[in-house]
């Protein structure tokens, strides 16, 4: 099961038959594992890691540190749930350290994000303060290097 997840984490398009060959397992076993993985939502979705900086520049990301008011018995869950429902929010984490929540926001330009923070995020009940940092360039995302790789430096034939 772990092996199957690792393969799909690298490449979500690998068919079951190939996974079976690569792992040296019967096809039925892999199909069963995949059914279970999907039933238990161990894989949440199959998407592509797009390098948007290469496609166009009308997409901007910001990392926003949020200090929030915890709620008795629920901690930060209510305020986090509220924030996470905005479609502009790309990801959201509860953090250790000074800020309580880390919000990653996606927008068409800097102004759109500034507006989102001022008009939507900051007024959310329980949000005490926000501190916004814009992403200027992505070097690595989801474990993959996005800069041009060095390429294959090996000679074509070696002993």
């Amino acid at each position: 099961m772990l092996d199957v997840l690792r393969i799909l984490e690298q490449d979500g398009r690998v068919p079951a038959a190939e996974i079976a060959t690569r792992l040296g397992r019967p096809l039925e076993e892999i199909q069963q594992a995949l059914a279970e993985i999907e039933a238990r939502q161990l894989i949440v979705s199959y998407g592509a890691l797009v390098n948007w900086e290469k496609v166009s520049d009308d997409r901007v990301y910001a990392f926003i540190s949020v200090e929030a008011e915890p709620e008795h018995g629920r901690g930060f869950d209510t305020v986090a749930d509220h924030i996470s429902r905005f479609p502009e929010v790309h990801s959201l984490y509860l953090m250790s350290g000074t800020a309580d929540l880390q919000v990653v926001v996606e927008g068409n330009d800097f102004r759109a994000i500034a507006r989102f923070v001022a008009e939507k995020l900051a007024p959310v009940p329980g949000v005490r303060s926000t501190s916004t940092s814009f992403v200027l360039k992505t070097y690595k995302a989801e474990g993959r290097l996005l800069a041009e790789s060095g390429g294959d430096h090996r000679l074509a034939v070696t002993p």
């Binding site: 060959t21 690569r22 060095g150 074509a156 034939v157 070696t158 002993p159």
Partner: protein
Amino acid sequence: MSGPPRLSKMVQNLPPSGIREFFDLVIGMDDVISLGVGEPDFVTPWHICDAAIAAMRRGMTSYTSNLGLMELREAIAADMQRRWGVAYRPETQIIVTVGVSEGLDLVMRALLDPGDEVIVPEPCFVAYRAAVLMAGGIPVTIATREADEFRLLPDDLEAAITPRTRALLIGYPNNPTGATMSREDLLAIAKVCSEHDVLVLSDEIYALLTYEGQHTCFASLPDMYERTLVFNGFSKAYAMTGWRLGYACGPEYLIDALNRLHAYTVMCAPVSAQVAATEALRHGDGDMQRMVAEYDQRRRLFVKGLNDIGLPCFMPRGAFYAFPRVGHLGLTSKEFSRRLLFEQKVAAVPGTAFGACGEGHLRCTYATGMQQLKEALDRMGRFVDTLRQEGASAAS
């Protein structure tokens, strides 16, 4: 008028590597998928590079002791003990070399007088025969067979031994076949070596790339510790070919003999590579295991693919090579790889580069990205179909 100065007879007689010949064909061609490479497609894990960079910043840029940095030799000793259960004293029984390549050259020069023989089972790494020849020795080759899974058989070894035999040179897991030898297989070889008092030079550079069964270090076999020199290195398992670092472990008198030559030849292995290797041994397990797991998946996919397109392939259990049969399609290995290159732009090395008994086979490296392996299989399949059609029209 005289030409350039005469070269030594030894150099004049040294056959060019079959690999070199093939390399000359490939350079300058575009869009070639290369399965001809004897090294990993991964780059060296970053923590290893980082350790070397940090050492350079600290000013570690000088010679080391001839045998190598003590902390590296200690790490090697710990590794040999932990993985293979063999104890070596770092002070006297381990020498750090410029790759296993240097170690092989040193040991042949240390052992051989003109006319002395070294037994070399083939197909094998291209430098084995050459190392013997360069030291004035005579390589006595033994052909291993696909039917025996390219293992060395004790009877064949026994038949090759003469009064001039100084050593047996083996390399398992094997380049180019991917064959391994089980502990039982090796015990039978050890018995013959004991009986005939033959020294064993065991190149175990692919030991960590063993996918089925357990690797056995030759020196760990009963009675073999004193008559075995083990070679190993960082090139393959840690993806460090360009760092040029290896080592040899064995009886003190042999290490001392190697060191006498080594001290004059290179003085010591490069210090930054030694620092990197120390890091690899101390903290490299995780990255190494991830690479091994990836090779293992490619191995299954690629070997199945070869069999499916009609190139029957014995299942390699180690290293990162597949050695499919191509002879049944009517071409020699050389013609096959030449036409495969020109017609489908896939580079793979003819089996004969690794010994005459490699005829009828092709060496394909699967240390190549999964997508490229699949594309290579498609192209090779088309080439096999072409050859079949040629065969059919010639027959009608």
